[in-house]
């Protein structure tokens, strides 16, 4: 028997007894970031594939949601910082070994590209407002100019969207200290999930039936890919070393089993897939609206599980000889 304990009371907040430095703020950001990536991706993709007739909202109106969603996400990201006054320090340097540094700059790059997307499709996407500014010659000239470069802007947007969608997964997977995250599959998983939520949201908002059908088909395909990646992830964990096996155990029999299988896999992936299949076959519309909502829910739950479970997996875990809550008496 090995008894390995801390014999001096250690109670560093958010680290003992289990690491929880990242909470809902990060899960929400990861979800919204993935969603924004999906939004930017599909608004650019639909434009490049000339789907103006089939998917008019995606081509012309969707792009505006990108910066809105991302800004919401960046707000929670900001809330997570414990040294908020120094947030500007992200932007006084670029650290090539830190995925978070890449992410900080990608987040910044997102905005100009998204704005250009919006401007380049403004007249077609928001005619009500476009008509209002028709009599301002400067604005008209600007809109004309940017519209000419619609396709170029869309080509720029694709890699930015992919970068935004994948970097958070790469960031988490770069943490060798957190065995659950430390897999190359996490980046692709987050990207596919982000794109899936983007497609789902668009399907939810779009009015035109052909657009909804198109995006639902795309989303179904993405869900299948996502299921494959999840399967690979589970295989990877179950055939890994002890830290990975411990993480796998938490998903299969442990405290995360219900959330993972019941909510994420069943409600977030399988049920929408089935519903979308029926949608493609042309079945009852109302029930089918449930599918995108469940996809969005599943997207958030995936992030939440990843963030929480990852922090619980560790190389070193000491029990404490003492009840560290006693230290609260110091206050």
């Amino acid at each position: 028997m090995l008894e390995e304990i801390l014999v001096t009371a250690r109670s560093n907040p958010h680290i003992d007894p289990v690491m929880d430095v990242w909470g809902w703020e990060i899960s929400v950001y990861l979800f919204l970031g993935g969603l924004a990536a999906g939004i930017m991706f599909f608004s650019a993709l639909m434009l490049l594939l000339n789907k103006d007739e089939e998917a008019p909202f995606s081509v012309n109106g969707l792009a505006l949601l990108g910066p809105v969603v991302l800004s919401l996400g960046m707000t929670t990201l900001f809330l997570d910082l414990s040294h908020k006054l120094f947030v500007w320090r992200f932007y006084t340097t670029f650290e090539p070994t830190s995925p978070m540094s890449y992410g900080a700059w990608i987040l910044i790059l997102f905005y100009p590209v998204a704005i250009l997307q919006v401007v380049s499709t403004f007249r077609k996407g928001y005619p009500f407002f476009a008509n209002r500014v028709n009599d301002i010659p400067l604005v008209v000239r600007l809109l004309d100019l940017v519209e000419r470069y619609r396709r170029l802007i869309a080509w720029l947007a694709i890699p930015i969207a992919v970068a935004l969608g994948i970097y958070t997964g790469i960031l988490l997977s770069a943490f060798s200290a957190r065995p659950f995250w430390n897999t190359g599959l996490l980046g692709p998983l987050f990207l596919v999930s982000g794109l899936s939520t983007g497609a789902a949201l668009t399907a939810l908002i779009a009015r035109q039936h052909s657009e909804r059908r198109l995006l639902t088909r795309i989303d179904a395909g993405l869900i299948v890919v996502e299921l494959l990646i999840v399967a690979l992830l589970l295989i990877n964990l179950s055939t890994g070393a002890k830290p990975q096996l411990d993480a796998a155990a938490m998903l299969m029999g442990g405290s995360y089993t219900g959330w993972f299988w019941g909510v994420f896999v069943a409600l977030g992936l399988l049920v929408p897939l089935v519903l979308e299949y029926f949608e493609m076959r042309g079945s009852v519309r109302r029930i089918v609206m449930l599918a995108p909502v469940l996809v969005l829910l599943g997207g958030y739950v995936l992030r939440a599980i990843t963030v929480d479970l990852g922090q619980e997996t560790t190389w070193i875990d000491y029990q404490s000889e003492f009840n560290t809550q006693l230290l609260e008496r110091l206050h």
Binding site: M1, L2, E3, E4, I5, L6, V7, T8, R10, S11, N12, P13, H14, I15, D16, M19, V21, W22, D80, L81, S82, H83, K84, F86, V87, R89, F90, T92, T93, E95, T97, S98, P99, M100, S101, G103, A104, L171, A174, F175, S176, A177, R178, G310, Q311, T314, W315, I316, Y318, E321, L327, L330
Partner: protein
């Protein structure tokens, strides 16, 4: 990179925690927070037993994942050595370094909000003194010095005694050695 190492003789360590209190007072660590701690590991069944005490802290790894993951450069290696420090003026409190450390060696400095950890008392090292924990240990079981210097005590100890580091499989190349 000049390598500063701490070498701790587990055969003499009694797990008294003097190192923990010395660090707290020297570095004015806020109440309830710890830069170092003591672990007791007992193996066997009564009466065939073996107990080992370890004073643990940041390992100032040569391959410090916390430095790699820091997005602002706040976590950095000091002065071309392996001593990892956090610049509070660059730290945003994103906590990536905390997630990156396999040894749970970092902490959030309340109320400042920036990230803090053992600094190998570099403010003493640059004056030619040992870290506070090493200087106070009543069994004199802690040593500190430059591994690059073959005549330093730490180099000699690692040459002549069996030793181990914590979880070498993390790949971080920790620089706190335990003589066994």
């Amino acid at each position: 990179m000049a390598l500063y190492a701490m070498v701790i003789d587990t055969k003499l360590c009694i797990g008294c925690g003097d190192c923990v209190v010395a660090c707290k007072t020297e570095n004015k660590v806020p109440e309830g927070l710890n830069r170092d701690w003591v672990v007791e590991a007992t193996q066997g069944t009564y009466p065939n037993l073996k107990t080992e005490f370890r004073s643990e802290r940041c390992n100032h790894c040569s391959h410090a994942t916390c430095v790699y993951m820091c997005p602002t450069g706040a976590s950095h290696h000091w002065n071309g050595t392996n001593i990892v420090l956090v610049d509070p003026n660059k730290c945003t409190g994103c906590k990536a370094c905390i997630a990156a450390c396999p040894y749970d060696a970092r902490l959030i400095m309340h109320p400042g909000g920036y990230i803090d950890k053992c600094t190998f008392c570099h403010h003493r090292v640059e004056k030619g003194l040992d870290p506070a924990c090493v200087s106070t240990c009543p069994t004199h079981c802690m040593y500190f010095g430059l591994l690059d210097d073959p005549s330093s005590t730490v180099s000699e100890l690692l040459r002549t005694r069996n030793y181990k580091v914590l979880s070498p499989e993390t790949g971080n190349q920790p620089n706190v050695y335990y003589l066994i």
